[in-house]
Subunit: 210 residues, 2 copies
């Protein structure tokens, strides 16, 4: 967990590896963090568990066809604006549970963020199955980790419980979708609020002085 410049608060970046808008934020947040001096902590959580609490059994983008159509086109437009590759995953949403556990293991070591970026690339640029241990092992290797050991640690009860606890923590902070950004007591939801969250961390109530 890094400390930003004096007086600047940390942004908690709550992401879900199956979430298209989280993909956009994950690929953008490092540059914004560097430019602002705001530290970012990467927090994987299980969005499906939160959706289940809302009475959903799949993504809201699958429940409402019109909303889903808009989302795919919107992400495509925004990816083009950001000059990011984008290819919708099939099927959607992918099963991201194991990937999140691997991410937790990697974030304890020094390859977690690189792994998350590789996993997003696999899922949203290369149409690979991020539920597959083989795909995840390759992502771990690219990120500089040791695949066999990483997948073994991901399967430990302790790791599963930590992911469960992280999801409960997200819930307790008001998170209901992904990506979400938490700065002190302020919650920002959506890739389109990433800049706002960074600004909030830079200057406290900076938005109100804009």
């Amino acid at each position: 967990m890094g400390i930003g410049r004096v007086g600047r608060r940390t942004v908690e970046f709550w992401f879900e590896l199956a979430s298209p808008y989280s993909y956009l934020s994950a690929l953008r947040i490092d540059a914004l963090s560097a430019a602002s001096g705001v530290a970012v902590t990467w927090r994987p959580f299980v969005l499906g568990a939160i959706f289940k609490n809302q009475g959903l059994t799949t993504s809201p983008f699958n429940v409402d066809a019109a909303k889903g159509r808009h989302m795919w086109r919107d992400v495509e437009r925004r990816a083009a604006t950001y000059r990011l590759p984008f290819r919708p995953p099939t099927p959607f949403p992918q099963n991201s549970l194991l990937a999140h556990r691997v991410a937790l293991v990697g974030l304890d070591a020094d390859w977690g963020k690189a792994f998350v970026l590789e996993a997003y690339r696999a899922g949203f640029a290369n149409d690979q199955d991020v539920g597959s241990p083989e795909v995840l092992g390759t992502c771990v290797a690219w990120a500089g980790g040791e695949p066999g050991r990483a997948l073994a640690e991901a399967g430990l009860t302790e790791t599963k419980e930590r992911l469960h606890d992280a999801t409960a923590e997200a819930c307790s902070k008001g998170v209901f979708g992904a990506p979400s950004f938490v700065v002190g007591d302020e919650l920002f939801w959506g890739d389109d609020r990433l800049e706002d969250a960074i600004q909030w961390a830079v200057g406290g109530h900076a938005l109100q002085q804009a």
Copy 2:
């Protein structure tokens, strides 16, 4: 219906008078239209009818408490950024059916846009009931219309059918929430996509050349 500068397309602004994010867009869109030379057509529709098709009986912000809490705080933050007054209406959502009918009548005359802005001010700055004929009559008067005549025309079967047809047209264009912006075949959802929609109208595929 205005025509923008040569080569610039029109933005259809689909708004719902009970929608907080539509309030933000309604108060911002004129300045963006003027600065860009893009013409805007104001299109009221009944969001509740679309929610009903989605199986909802109230606003999604009431269905999911965490989502609702975030929305109120998010609108408050954004209103502060835009230097707009904001006071959450009670109860929420307000009954906007009559207000939409009056808006249609006014948009046929020359006081429609001013009426819509007055109705938004009543609902989201002054905590007045925009379901009330008295409040709406005052809004019509401020906008330069004749309240008695406006309310009578709003009650005509023809006006009711036009609002119904407008809502069906919104649906057919993929609208599932408010505000929505339609530029040719492109749909943009949310106050945070207003600038994108204007840009799209200015330069066609401008986003992809950004």
